[in-house]
C-alpha cells in the first residue's frame, strides 16, 4: 500500500486569533494522582451535560502506574511533530456496560500512523470534556501528551472537530470497526467523516476508540484549543469546595456567570425539534427558565430571552450535592444551579466557526445568544 506524502500546506494562524487560554506556558503540566478528582470535575463541567461521565476514565487512571502524568504545552514541543487526537465515540451508556480494553485507541492510532508513515505521534484529546477529557491520559508513559483538544468543550458530532471545521487538508480519521477491524477515512468532507466514523462505531457495537491525525503540533496553535487540560484542572480546583451559599463567588472563580437557580417543574420533548428536550425551571427569583437540551445542554432561555447558548458552556449542578449533572440526570423535581462558562475563544474567532457550534448546526432555530 502506497503511503501518502506528508501533510500538505497548513493555514497560517489568522492574525490576532490566537486563542486565549489559562495555561500557555512553555513548561509541562505535571498531573498528580491527587489532581484526578479536580480534573474529573473540571472535564465534567466542560461536558455541558454531555460527553459522558469522566468516572470510568478516572477509574482506569487511578490504577495507572504512570503518575505523575506529564502533559506538554504545545509551545515546548517540536511544531513539526505529528499529532493525533484520540477519544471515545458513540454511546457513553454502552461504554459503561461493555467496558473498553487496555488499549482502546491503539488500533486507530496505529492505523493512522501506518497510513501517514509517521511514528511516535504526540497525543491529544478530541474533546476536553466528560469521559474524553481523561481518556487520552491513559497513554501517558507510552506516548507524549500535549495539552490541546479539538473542541474545548463537549460537542456531539465529529464534523465539529476544530481541524475539520477549519478544513485542514489531509485529515485522517480512524475508528475501530468490529473485532480486529479498523476504518480509516482520509481527506473526506467533514460531514462524510461524521457518517463513516459513525458507521464504524455502529459496527464496533455502539462505541469505539477513535483517532484523528494528519496534523502537527504546530497546527494546534491555530486550529485547535490549547491549554484545556489546565483549564479543566483550574475549574475543578476552583469548584471543589463550592457551596450553595456563595454561588456568585463560585461563578466568579470559574470565570463564568450564575444563570439562575430553581426547580425543574416540567420536561417536554419538543415536537418541532426532534431529539430536543426542554426543561421548564421555576427560578427561585420567579423567572421562567427554559433549559434546552440535546445530548448536551444547548441553551438557557430566561423570560423569553436567550441568556446562554452553545458554544457557551452551560453547566447544571445539583443544588443539594453540587454534583455536575448530565442531561439525563436532569429531571422534574430536581433543584438546579445553572452556570455558564465562556465558550472557548477559538469558536468565537469567526462567524463560520461559531455557526458550526451553534444550535442551528442541528437545525434548532431561535437559540442564538444575543448581544
Amino acid at each position: 500500500m502506497a503511503l501518502p506524502s506528508s501533510p500538505g500546506q497548513r493555514h497560517p494562524p489568522p492574525p490576532g486569533t490566537r486563542p486565549a487560554c489559562t495555561y500557555a506556558g512553555r513548561v509541562p503540566l505535571a498531573l498528580q494522582r491527587d489532581d484526578l478528582e479536580s480534573l474529573a470535575r473540571g472535564f465534567a463541567m466542560l461536558g455541558a451535560g454531555g460527553a459522558g461521565s469522566p468516572h470510568l476514565s478516572a477509574l482506569v487512571l487511578e490504577n495507572s502506574a504512570t503518575w505523575p502524568i506529564t502533559v506538554h504545552s504545545p509551545a515546548e514541543l517540536d511544531p513539526d511533530r505529528p499529532c493525533i487526537a484520540v477519544g471515545y465515540g458513540g454511546s457513553t451508556f454502552l461504554l459503561e456496560e461493555q467496558l473498553p480494553g487496555l488499549d482502546p485507541f491503539g488500533p486507530a492510532i496505529r492505523a493512522i500512523e501506518r497510513w501517514l508513515g509517521v511514528e511516535d505521534a504526540v497525543i491529544c484529546s478530541i474533546e476536553a470534556a466528560g469521559i474524553n477529557g481523561l481518556a487520552n491520559l491513559q497513554l501517558a508513559g507510552s506516548r507524549d501528551l500535549v495539552d490541546a483538544d479539538c473542541m474545548g468543550r463537549a460537542l456531539p458530532d465529529f464534523d465539529q472537530l476544530s481541524v475539520l471545521v477549519d478544513g485542514l487538508p489531509g485529515i485522517v480519521a480512524a475508528a475501530s470497526a468490529g473485532p480486529g477491524g479498523v476504518a480509516v477515512v482520509e481527506g473526506a468532507r467533514p460531514r462524510d467523516v461524521e457518517r463513516v466514523i459513525r458507521t464504524a462505531i455502529e459496527c464496533n457495537g455502539g462505541w469505539a476508540g477513535t483517532a484523528f491525525g494528519g496534523f502537527t503540533v504546530g497546527d494546534l496553535h491555530a486550529h485547535a484549543m490549547t491549554g484545556t487540560v489546565a483549564r479543566a484542572l483550574a475549574i475543578g480546583r476552583a469548584s471543589a469546595d463550592a457551596i450553595r451559599a456563595d454561588l456568585p463567588a463560585l461563578a466568579d472563580s470559574l470565570g463564568g456567570r450564575l444563570l439562575g437557580t430553581g426547580r425543574v417543574i416540567d420536561a417536554r420533548h419538543e415536537r418541532t425539534a426532534p431529539g430536543v428536550v426542554s426543561f421548564e425551571v421555576q427560578a427561585d427569583d420567579g423567572a421562567v427558565l427554559r433549559l434546552v437540551a440535546r445530548s448536551e445542554l444547548v441553551a438557557l432561555v430566561r423570560n423569553g430571552v436567550v441568556v446562554a447558548a452553545t458554544p457557551t458552556i452551560i453547566v447544571a449542578l445539583d443544588a443539594t450535592t453540587m454534583a455536575v449533572l448530565e442531561v439525563d440526570q436532569v429531571a422534574v423535581g430536581k433543584d438546579l444551579v445553572l452556570l455558564s462558562l465562556p465558550a472557548p475563544a477559538w469558536w468565537l474567532a469567526s462567524p463560520s466557526r461559531r455557526r458550526q457550534a451553534e444550535a442551528i448546526h442541528w437545525g434548532i432555530e431561535g437559540l442564538e445568544e444575543t448581544g
Binding site: 417543574i265 416540567d266 417536554r268 419538543e270 415536537r271 418541532t272 425539534a273 430536543v276 426542554s278 421548564e280 421555576q282 420567579g286 423567572a287 421562567v288 427554559r290 434546552v292 441553551a299 432561555v301 423570560n303 423569553g304 430571552v305 436567550v306 434548532i364 432555530e365 431561535g366 437559540l367
Partner: protein, 497 residues
C-alpha cells in the same frame, strides 16, 4: 380613541373563533393590532392587544421569545393560534403581565375586536342578522325558538314576568339583574355587576306583563347598544310564537278530544281506522289501563287544566295520556305488563297527589277507574272514571276524589250513596219512619221482601212484620213492589242507618 376593548367584552362576544384565556383575568386595551406575524407589529405601542394570524411557533422557547418580544413592544395582551402554549409560557405571561389568549380562528377574533372597538353599530347589525337567521330554522315551540336565538347570538334569552323567569335558553339571568327590571316601560336596560339585561314587553292573549329579555355579562356601550336593538327585533318573533303555541295547543287538544270521544263511543270495539289514529297519537290499547277523569266543580278552562295535568303526569313513572273532554280532562295510565296490586295502589296514590296539586289552582274533582286490559278494558275504565268523577264532584268528605277499585259497581254505588246530595235525599225519604221502622224496612228489603225471613232475622212474629211493612208503605208513600223504588229505599237505608 376613547373606545376600549375589555377581555370581558371579548369573552362575551359570540364569535371570537374559539377564544380561550390561557392567562389573565381582566384586561382593557385601547387598540387591537392584527398582523400575520410578530415582525409586522408596530415597534412601540402604549397598550394593546396583538392578534397574530400565523400559528405560534412549535418549540417552547420560541413561544417564550415571542411573548417577550411582543411584551417589549408595549403590548399587554396577545392572542395566538396553532398549538396552545404550555404551562411554562403561561407562567412567563404572568410574569410579564401579559394577557395570553388562544383562538382557533384569529380572523374571527380580529373581526370581534373591530366590532367592539370601532364599529359598534356593526355589532348590533351583526346580532340582528343572527337573530333573523334564527327564523330560518323550524321551531317546535317557544322553547325551541329561544334555543335557536340563543345559539345564534350567544346571549342568554328569557321570557319573564314579575315572578321571575318563565322560559329561557342559555345562561339564566342573574337574580341581581332580574330584580332591577322595570315592567312599566318599553325598553328597559337593567345593570348590575353581573352584567346587563335589555328587555321589552311582549303581548299575549292569556298572560299579563310578559317581557322578553336578552342579557350579557359585559355592560360596555357596544353591548348596550347591540342588545337593546336585538331585543326589540326579537320581540315580535316571540309574540308571534306565543300566539302560534296557544292556537296549536287548542287545536291539538280538540283533535285528541275528538279521538277520545270516538274511542268511548266505540265501547272498546276499536276498528282499524280508529286504531290507526290512536297509534298516530301514541295511544296504545294493548296492556293494562287505569282511567281517570278530572272535572271542574265550577267553571274552568279545560285547556288550562290539561296543561297543568300534563305537566304533573310527567312525574308519574308510567306511560300516561290525557286530553280535554267536556268540562274536564280525561286520561289514563297504561302498564305494558299486568301490574301488582301494590303498583296499582302506588299509581293511584300518585293520581291522588296530582289531584291535590291541581286543587291548588282549580276547583276540581277526580275519579279514578279500576284496572282493566285491552281496548274494551280501556273504554270500561274510562267509563268508571267518568262515573267516579261525577260522584267525586258531590263528595267533599272524600276530598273530591273517588277511586273505583276492583269491587267495581257495588262500591261505586256505595260511594255514590255516600255523596252529599244522596245522603240528604235519603234522610228526607226516610224521615217519616221511626228508628225501629227503618230497621224493619232495611231487613225486609235485604231479605228480598220475605216476611218470614225478615221475622226470623229480627226475632219477631211474622204478623208484626207484616203490619209494620204495610204501615211503612203508607208512611213513605212508595209501592214496595216497584223494583226501582225498592232499590232507592234500600240504598237510602244503607246511607241513613
Amino acid at each position: 380613541m376613547s373606545a376600549e376593548l375589555s377581555l370581558e367584552a371579548l369573552l362575551e362576544h359570540p364569535d371570537t373563533g374559539g377564544l380561550t384565556v390561557l392567562h389573565g383575568t381582566s384586561a382593557v386595551w385601547t387598540q387591537a393590532v392584527v398582523e400575520i406575524g410578530e415582525d409586522a407589529l408596530p415597534a412601540e405601542v402604549d397598550d394593546g392587544l396583538a392578534v397574530l394570524i400565523d400559528p405560534a411557533p412549535g418549540a417552547s422557547w420560541q413561544v417564550d421569545a415571542l411573548l417577550r418580544r411582543v411584551h417589549d413592544r408595549g403590548f399587554t395582551g396577545i392572542a395566538l393560534t396553532g398549538e396552545a402554549p404550555g404551562p411554562g409560557s403561561r407562567a412567563l405571561a404572568e410574569r410579564l403581565g401579559l394577557t395570553l389568549l388562544h383562538t382557533d380562528h384569529p380572523t374571527r377574533l380580529a373581526r370581534a375586536c373591530w366590532q367592539l372597538l370601532e364599529a359598534r353599530d356593526a355589532l348590533a347589525l351583526w346580532m340582528v342578522q343572527r337573530i333573523a337567521r334564527s327564523i330560518e330554522y323550524r321551531a317546535d315551540d317557544l322553547g325551541d325558538l329561544l334555543r335557536h336565538i340563543n345559539a345564534n347570538v350567544g346571549h342568554g334569552i328569557a321570557l319573564i314576568d314579575q315572578e321571575g323567569i318563565l322560559q329561557g335558553a342559555g345562561e339564566p339571568i342573574p337574580e341581581s339583574l332580574l330584580k332591577q327590571i322595570t315592567f312599566d316601560r318599553w325598553l328597559d336596560i337593567a345593570e348590575s355587576p353581573d352584567g346587563l339585561v335589555a328587555s321589552v314587553p311582549v303581548e299575549s292573549r292569556t298572560r299579563q306583563a310578559l317581557r322578553v329579555a336578552l342579557h350579557g355579562k359585559d355592560a360596555s356601550t357596544a353591548y348596550r347598544n347591540a342588545l337593546s336593538t336585538a331585543v326589540e327585533v326579537v320581540m315580535p318573533m316571540v309574540a308571534a310564537r306565543l300566539l302560534i303555541d296557544e292556537v296549536e295547543a287548542v287545536s291539538d287538544a280538540s283533535r285528541s278530544s275528538g279521538l277520545l270521544g270516538d274511542l268511548l263511543e266505540s265501547g272498546g270495539n276499536v276498528d282499524a281506522e280508529l286504531e290507526q289514529r290512536m297509534k298516530a297519537r301514541g295511544w296504545r290499547t294493548n296492556g293494562y289501563h287505569v282511567g281517570f277523569r278530572i272535572v271542574g266543580r265550577g267553571r274552568l278552562d279545560p285547556l288550562e287544566l290539561l296543561r297543568l295535568v300534563s305537566s304533573l303526569l310527567i312525574r308519574i313513572p308510567v306511560d300516561s295520556h290525557a286530553t280535554t273532554r267536556g268540562g274536564g280532562v280525561t286520561g289514563w295510565l297504561t302498564f305494558p305488563e299486568p301490574p301488582s296490586p301494590a303498583v296499582v295502589a302506588a299509581r293511584v296514590r300518585d293520581l291522588h297527589e296530582l289531584h291535590r296539586s291541581a286543587q291548588a289552582s282549580f276547583t276540581v274533582a277526580t275519579g279514578v277507574g279500576s284496572l282493566a286490559s285491552g281496548p274494551t278494558g280501556l273504554s270500561a275504565t274510562l267509563g268508571e272514571a267518568r262515573d267516579a268523577a261525577r260522584l267525586a264532584a258531590d263528595s267533599a268528605r272524600s276530598g273530591w276524589f273517588v277511586h273505583v277499585d276492583s269491587l267495581g259497581l257495588e262500591q261505586l254505588l256505595l260511594a255514590w250513596t255516600g255523596g252529599d246530595t244522596f245522603a240528604s235525599a235519603a234522610a228526607s225519604l226516610l224521615a217519616p219512619l221511626s228508628e225501629v221502622e227503618r230497621q224493619t224496612l232495611a231487613a225486609y228489603l235485604d231479605e228480598e221482601s220475605s216476611i218470614v225471613a225478615t221475622a226470623e232475622r229480627l226475632g219477631l212474629h211474622r204478623n208484626t212484620v207484616s203490619t209494620r211493612v204495610q204501615r211503612i208503605q203508607g208512611l213513605v208513600g212508595i209501592d214496595l213492589h216497584d223494583p226501582e223504588a225498592r232499590l232507592a229505599l234500600q240504598l237510602a237505608c244503607r246511607v241513613v242507618l
